[in-house]
């Protein structure tokens, strides 16, 4: 009887932590694919799309996540595929310049703590995210730096100048 009691209490002790932490993600694993706009001629705004799968050891599905990217907090979009989420932002080309960006993901509790910290003016870094994804934006290309027609004109002018100066040299020396 004593042994049974001990077993029960041991099982309860092992299970209770998982029950209490039922909603939060334990040892999250993230696999992310990102897309950033590369051509400014064709697109009017720069767009970042971060598509990621987040799996937790405790098999929490369909989580309500919030992302903090570039100072903006927004809810994470859920897709019809399990564990696949998407974060997308769009802005002017000038506002989303090239460089490294970090997406911090928060669950419900983390998000409410983040909002509290923002409201009270505390540092946002004190709230620990579930996980974070970093990606690099190589920048948008606005076309070649120098137009090829410009280069052709410059070369033509140089050739003409060389020919003209040689001719005038020859004529003057005659």
């Amino acid at each position: 009887m004593e042994f049974a009691g001990k077993m029960i209490s041991l099982v309860v002790l092992l299970v209770v932590p998982f029950v209490v932490l039922g909603d939060s993600c334990l040892s999250p694993e993230v696999k992310a694919e990102t897309y950033t706009t590369t051509e400014a001629i064709v697109s009017t705004e720069t767009v970042f799309i971060v598509q990621f799968t987040l799996t937790c050891k405790n098999k929490v599905r369909d989580m309500n996540l919030y992302a903090d990217i570039n100072g903006r907090t927004l809810p994470v979009t859920k897709t019809d595929k399990p564990d696949l989420y998407q974060v997308s932002i769009s802005d002017d080309h000038k506002k989303l310049s090239s460089g490294k960006y970090e997406v911090r993901l928060y669950d419900e509790e983390g998000y409410s703590m983040l909002r509290k910290a923002q409201r009270s003016g505390e540092s946002v870094d004190s709230v620990k995210p579930v996980t974070s994804i970093t990606f690099n934006h190589p920048g948008v290309s606005k076309g070649p730096f120098v137009q090829s027609e410009f280069v052709a004109v410059v070369i033509a002018v140089l050739v003409w100048y060389f020919a003209y100066s040689t001719r005038s040299q020859l004529q003057s020396s005659n």
């Binding site: 064709v42 998407q86 090829s148």
Partner: protein
């Protein structure tokens, strides 16, 4: 001849004969006309009060339901075959309470004409708070050129927690757009480096042949000239 508000209560708007009558009429009953005007004003106020309370009542109904407006934009200056086409969906909640179980379904891009580069066409949000908006971006690549009609995507949501069924709505439709073929776009916008190189090579004969002739004759007949000084 009924008196309207704009008329002078003493003389009315009629001709001479009726004017006399009116004057008499007004003289005998000086307070009647002012009474009529006041009554009309009172009625107008009543009507206005009823309308305002009705509007207030119907607006207060909105406090407890969510209303979503969804827009779909194509963030492209040029639609080119084989280059990225960015579609942005924004959903605004203009109602008084949170919209629950919001689903966005995009089915207007056929698989054989558009390839999904990044993003998902069927997405959902658990909850959109009142007065906030969410946005979603999908990047596609057109596989064919020609005219394409960008139609609306479908949004469904529950306007309140105990709503019986989901409300289905549509996003705005960007309309018809022309997808330019990749050859035509390149003809206009690519740097044409190869074309310029070929042009340079083709102009070389007309430049080098005279130069070679000159150089040959110069090297054959050139005698070192004595310096003048």
């Amino acid at each position: 001849m009924a008196l309207t508000e704009g008329d002078d209560p003493l003389y009315g708007s009629g001709s001479g004969f009726s004017k006399i009558l009116l004057v008499r009429h007004v003289d005998y009953f000086p307070l009647l006309n002012t009474g009529l005007l006041a009554a009309r004003r009172k009625m107008k106020l009543w009507v206005l009060a009823v309308l305002i309370s009705f509007a207030g009542y119907s607006l207060s109904e909105e406090e407890n339901v969510a209303r979503l407006l969804a827009s779909k934009n194509v963030l492209n200056q040029y639609l080119v075959e084989g280059r990225d086409l960015t579609v942005q969906y924004t959903i605004f909640n203009i109602g008084g309470s949170a919209a629950l179980d919001v689903n966005l379904k995009e089915e207007s891009f056929p698989e054989q004409d558009f390839e999904v580069v990044k993003g998902n066409l069927n997405v959902k949000w658990e909850r959109i708070a009142p007065g906030t908006n969410v946005s979603h971006v999908v990047v596609l690549r057109p596989l064919q050129f020609g005219y394409f009609n960008f139609t609306a995507a479908e949004v469904s949501y529950k306007p309140s927690e105990n709503a019986a069924s989901a409300v289905v709505g549509f996003t705005s439709a960007p309309g018809e757009g022309g997808i330019v073929g990749s050859k035509d776009f390149d003809r206009k916008f690519s740097p044409h480096v190869l074309d310029w190189l070929v042009f340079a090579i083709m102009t070389l004969p007309s430049l080098t042949i005279p130069f070679l002739l000159f150089y040959r004759s110069k090297s054959r007949y050139d005698t070192p000239k004595p310096k003048k000084n």
